[in-house]
């Protein structure tokens, strides 16, 4: 009665309030009613007692407000304290638990670290070579503009043509798809020094190239557009050349240098980070003005698309402009525009994409492993969690605690992963093939690091949630099951098996890919090149222009050189060629056989391999003549040629090519040549597919200023010194020729595939190890679960063999199923890497069989310990336990 009165008296709202507000109200109410009861006990009337109690309490509204304030503050403080106390508790508990399960924690952290580390290393490379291929402003809109033949390219190479200056001028003045189009042109020049002239890479640019690339001169200034018009002989040095040769002199501007035969005035220095857009190119040493009025030049073009402009639209526009320009000059070129992103021009692009895919598979395997490591643990801890829940731990509290544990692990894994990634990247850089200097400058980039850490934290959260989700079973159920091992849902077993099967499938795909690449490298090494690279060298001679203007002066030089070079120790044979190993030259035009219709229709241009050789070339190279004879008459009138066996045999019956007349017709014109012999196929550019396209050998007639002399020795020798002495003694003005070893060259052609192969093999081994650990975990767990069952079987007389078989069968079945899925996937997947293979088909029986066998063997190895554990089960103890 009194309480109801109090309620009315203070008009306490009956609505849901926070607990602390409710506490305050309740406390005041209690006080007032106790005071009123006290007063009534002293003899006061109920109504008076209530009034007196209120009076003695003092200013009610004001006090209540103050008490509420204090209570709110207290509540928040308590929550905060409690939160941190719990966090601290969670963390220390997590560390304690993990220390108790050291092996488990280590495996988990290591697995995460491997996955994250491999991914970090490879994606750092991808990020810097592909995603950030170019450091110019608005790099996402930068494209490289080239031309390519419309048809008739049967060389097996991508042929890109640098557009001519009239077309580039047309593009620059009329384009709407591009904000800017910057032409540039790279030339090799000789820088005059006190010693031998130094070959330098010079690049001719327009003044606008600097703003296009977002760069500026670090010393002096850029040359002006007027300078180009007046043909001023000015140059800018690269920072590298400036530091190496000019000691970083601040007063370099105004000095002069001699490039080739011309004198240039240095006006400034451009920074080292200013690079040309194509990765893998040598650095630029000197920057020179580009004169677009010279209509005989072909120039490289790089452009920045307008926002929203697409590559197909831009291609169409440039094609139309080029057609207009050509219509005006009445020349019809058989070329079309080819616009590509700078990253696509990097020749390691395909390999890198493949490696990124492989490493992503490894990461998936690692994640699957971590997932079932967590699941396995969640089940072993089910009882612990159930007991704690029964003792009053809330679901939320348990959830948070599991989450803390997994986050601690995930962070440790992520940190380990970053460390491994750093070492991995160092290893990649150390193993890089010599042709890929750009790998040297790669660092772990911040985006990759952030993603790796994010992946770590995310996996922690996900796996924590998986664990917590499993802990959701009601404690009664778990505890009721008694001390007998707790019952596990079929679904969970299925899920874990599915994880192992998918790990096995991913790994099988990796093994197949790696085997294909290993076979590729082996094939490359063993490839029959059709010539003998051992003890074969070549000397590249480049005679200066002035004293060697006439054919007679050149012939005199070469004759003396050859005569004296022949007497050098170990030198056995010498031969002249226009194509040293690794190079090809082409006659441009349509290949025609007399009496047959041209093979390519219309005005298409083809590129016909052509090699000008002297009479010793085939002997020196050890290329046999398989049909007919060598040139019997090297005169222009006789016009004899040899062709390659690949072409001759694909086109004619044996012997049918001899006496046939062929020509390379350009605009319908060209002299006919007679085939007098067929030479065996020789792959002088390194192992490639035997081509059925024509390869013509013609006699070398006028010795050019630049030529190559092949040298056959009878031992491995260093010819650089003797060649230099010899050349200088004949004519000191001739630059020291370069001497190269064919064996070393062949070795270099294999370096990139081998590099890709070793990386992929490493990732495959990682994946295999992780998958084995995963299978081991599942098998060990299943044996532990079946201890009682195994005990009973043994007691009933099952032999050791039967027991071992039952364990092994399950492991091998899981691996086999995974391998089957992996093989099926690889059946479709390997064709993606077809371009990286040599001498082996994407669907290769050996590789697929290897994939299956490696997986099964791994499975058996992973099952050894669980099987031995199963055999060691003591039937009496297993049955009696519990």
């Amino acid at each position: 009665m009194i309480r109801r009165g109090i309620q009315r008296a203070f008009n306490l709202a009956i609505r849901r309030r926070d607990r602390w507000q409710h506490d305050v109200e309740e406390e005041i109410k209690l006080h007032l009613s106790l005071r009123a009861e006290q007063l009534m006990a002293e003899g006061a009337a109920p109504n008076d007692a209530l009034a007196e109690a209120v009076r003695r309490f003092g200013p009610l509204a004001e006090s209540r407000a103050r008490m509420l304030d204090a209570a709110r503050y207290r509540e928040h403080r308590m929550q905060r304290t409690e939160y941190f106390a719990q966090l601290q508790q969670d963390l220390s508990f997590a560390f304690r638990t993990l220390r108790r399960q050291k092996a488990w924690a280590l495996i988990t952290v290591f697995t995460l670290a491997l996955g994250i580390g491999a991914t970090t290393a490879v994606f750092s490379v991808v990020s810097s070579l592909i995603l950030h291929a170019i450091a110019y402003p608005n790099a996402d809109r930068i494209v490289v503009v080239q031309q390519m033949p419309t048809q008739g390219n049967n060389t097996g190479l991508h042929i890109q043509i640098t557009p001519s200056t009239p077309i580039v001028n047309g593009w620059r003045s009329r384009t709407r798809a591009f904000e800017e189009l910057e032409p540039y042109r790279s030339v090799g020049l000789l820088l005059k020094t006190n010693d031998d002239p130094l070959p330098v890479n010079a690049t001719e640019i327009l003044p606008s190239f600097l703003s296009f690339t977002g760069s500026r001169a670090i010393v002096g200034r850029m040359f002006s557009a007027q300078g180009i018009e007046t043909k001023a002989q000015v140059a800018l040095l690269s920072e590298g050349l400036w530091r190496e040769r000019y000691g970083s002199a601040a007063n370099i501007a105004g000095k002069t240098i001699t490039l080739g035969d011309s004198l240039y005035t240095i006006v400034g220095v451009l920074p080292a980070d200013l690079r040309l857009p194509i990765i893998g190119r040598d650095r630029v040493d000197v920057w020179l003005p580009l004169d677009l009025r010279n209509s005989n030049l072909g120039v490289n073009v790089i452009g920045r698309l307008r926002p929203g402009a697409t590559i197909p639209a831009a291609t169409q526009e440039l094609n139309a402009i080029a057609a207009e320009v050509e219509a005006a000059s009445s020349a019809k070129s058989p070329f079309v525009t080819l616009i590509r992103r700078p990253a696509e021009l990097m020749d390691f692009h395909d390999s890198l994409i493949m490696l990124a895919g492989a490493v992503a598979l490894v990461l998936l395997v690692a994640c699957a492993n971590v997932a079932h490591l967590f699941m396995a643990r969640a089940t072993t801890r089910e009882r612990e969690l159930a007991v704690r829940a029964a003792l009053g731990a809330s679901q939320g509290r348990l959830f948070r605690q599991l989450l803390t544990e997994s986050l601690v692990l995930a962070l440790a894994g992520a940190i380990g992963g970053v460390a491994l990634g750093w070492f991995g990247l160092k290893a990649i850089i150390a193993l890089r093939p010599p042709q890929m200097p750009q790998l040297e400058s790669i660092r772990l980039d911040s985006t990759t690091l952030a993603i790796a850490l994010g992946a770590g934290v995310l996996s922690g959260v996900v796996f924590g949630v998986i664990g917590a989700f499993q802990a959701r079973r009601s404690p009664q159920d778990v505890l009721k099951a008694g001390a007998l091992s707790t019952s596990h849902s079929r679904g969970q077993g299925m899920l874990r098996s599915a994880l192992v099967v998918s790990e096995m499938a991913l790994t099988a795909a990796l093994v197949i890919g790696a085997t294909l690449l290993v076979r590729t490298v082996v094939n490359l090494q063993r490839a029959n090149l059709g010539f003998e690279p051992k003890n074969l060298y070549w000397v590249s001679i480049s005679l200066p222009e002035k004293p060697f203007a006439t054919a007679a002066s050149r012939a005199a030089f070469y004759n003396e050189f050859v005569a004296r070079f022949r007497t050098t120790p170990h030198v056995r044979e010498l031969a002249f060629t226009s194509n040293p190993p690794g190079t090809r030259s082409f006659a441009v035009g349509t290949f025609e056989i007399q009496g047959e219709a041209p093979t390519s229709t219309g005005s298409g241009t083809s590129f016909v391999d052509n090699n000008n050789i002297d009479e010793n070339y085939l002997k020196t190279m050890r290329i046999p003549i398989v049909e007919g004879t060598f040139f019997t008459d090297t005169s222009r009138a006789a016009n004899q040629v040899l062709v390659n066996a690949g072409f001759a045999h694909s086109h004619w019956p044996p012997g049918g090519s001899l006496g046939k007349r062929v020509r390379v017709a350009y605009r319908g014109e060209g002299d006919w040549s007679t085939i007098v012999g067929v030479a065996a196929d020789a792959q002088t550019t390194g192992a490639g597919i035997i081509s059925t396209a024509p390869y013509l050998y013609s006699p070398i007639r006028t010795p050019a200023r630049q030529t190559t002399i092949m040298v056959r020795t009878d031992a491995t020798v260093d010819l650089a010194g003797p060649v230099r002495t010899l050349v200088k003694s004949i004519d000191p003005s001739v630059r020291t020729p370069k001497v190269e070893s064919t064996e070393a060259f062949i070795e270099r052609t294999i370096a990139k595939p081998r590099f890709t192969m070793s990386l992929l093999t490493t990732f495959t081994l990682l994946g295999l190890t992780l998958a084995a650990v995963g299978l081991y975990g599942v098998m060990a767990y299943s044996v532990a679960q079946r201890t009682r069952e195994i005990g009973i079987r043994m007691a009933l007389g099952a032999s050791q063999r039967t027991i071992a078989n039952s364990v092994l069968r399950r492991g091998v079945m899981l691996a086999g199923l995974g391998a089957a899925i992996g093989l099926a996937g690889a059946f479709y997947g390997t064709r993606l890497i077809a371009t990286l293979l040599y001498g082996v088909a994407p669907i290769d029986a050996v590789s697929f069989a290897t994939g299956a066998i490696v997986l099964i063997v791994t499975a058996v190895v992973a099952c050894v310990v669980p099987t031995r554990r199963a055999l060691a089960v003591d039937p009496i103890r297993a049955i009696r336990a519990d």
């Binding site: 506490d23 006290q38 200013p59 009610l60 207290r74």
Partner: protein, 121 residues
């Protein structure tokens, strides 16, 4: 009657509440009753002032509270001293005694500064 009562000096109420709780946990009304008994109703104090003091002390971590049940089966919030509260009570009691003693000495001192208890000349 109110005229005879002593107003509570600032800061001393905290001390009195802590003292009240130094033997046993109590709920709010018990503290009030104890103070009234101990001071023989000599203190002039609104009941609400006491609650404010209790809340203040709790917020400072000198007290902690928990819901319990009274002898008559009513739900009440019981307060007890924390370790910090006990330490605080000990030091502040000492301070207060010294302070009171000093003030008393000064107030009762003779003109030459000597306490009045010393023999007058």
């Amino acid at each position: 009657m109110a005229a005879n009562r002593l107003p509570v000096l600032k800061g001393t109420l905290d001390l009195l509440v802590l003292r009240a709780l130094s033997w046993t946990p109590m709920h709010g009304f018990e503290i009030v009753s104890w103070l009234e008994r101990a001071a023989s109703s000599a203190l002039d104090l609104d009941d609400s002032a006491l609650y404010q003091a209790v809340y203040r002390l709790e917020a400072r971590g000198l007290l902690e509270a928990d819901w319990g049940v009274t002898e008559n089966n009513r739900r009440a919030r019981y307060y007890k001293l924390t370790t910090a509260g006990r330490t605080y009570l000990r030091t502040e009691t000492k301070n207060w005694m010294q302070y009171a003693e000093t003030v008393t000495t000064i107030l009762t001192a003779a003109k030459d500064g000597l306490p009045s208890t010393s023999p007058a000349t």
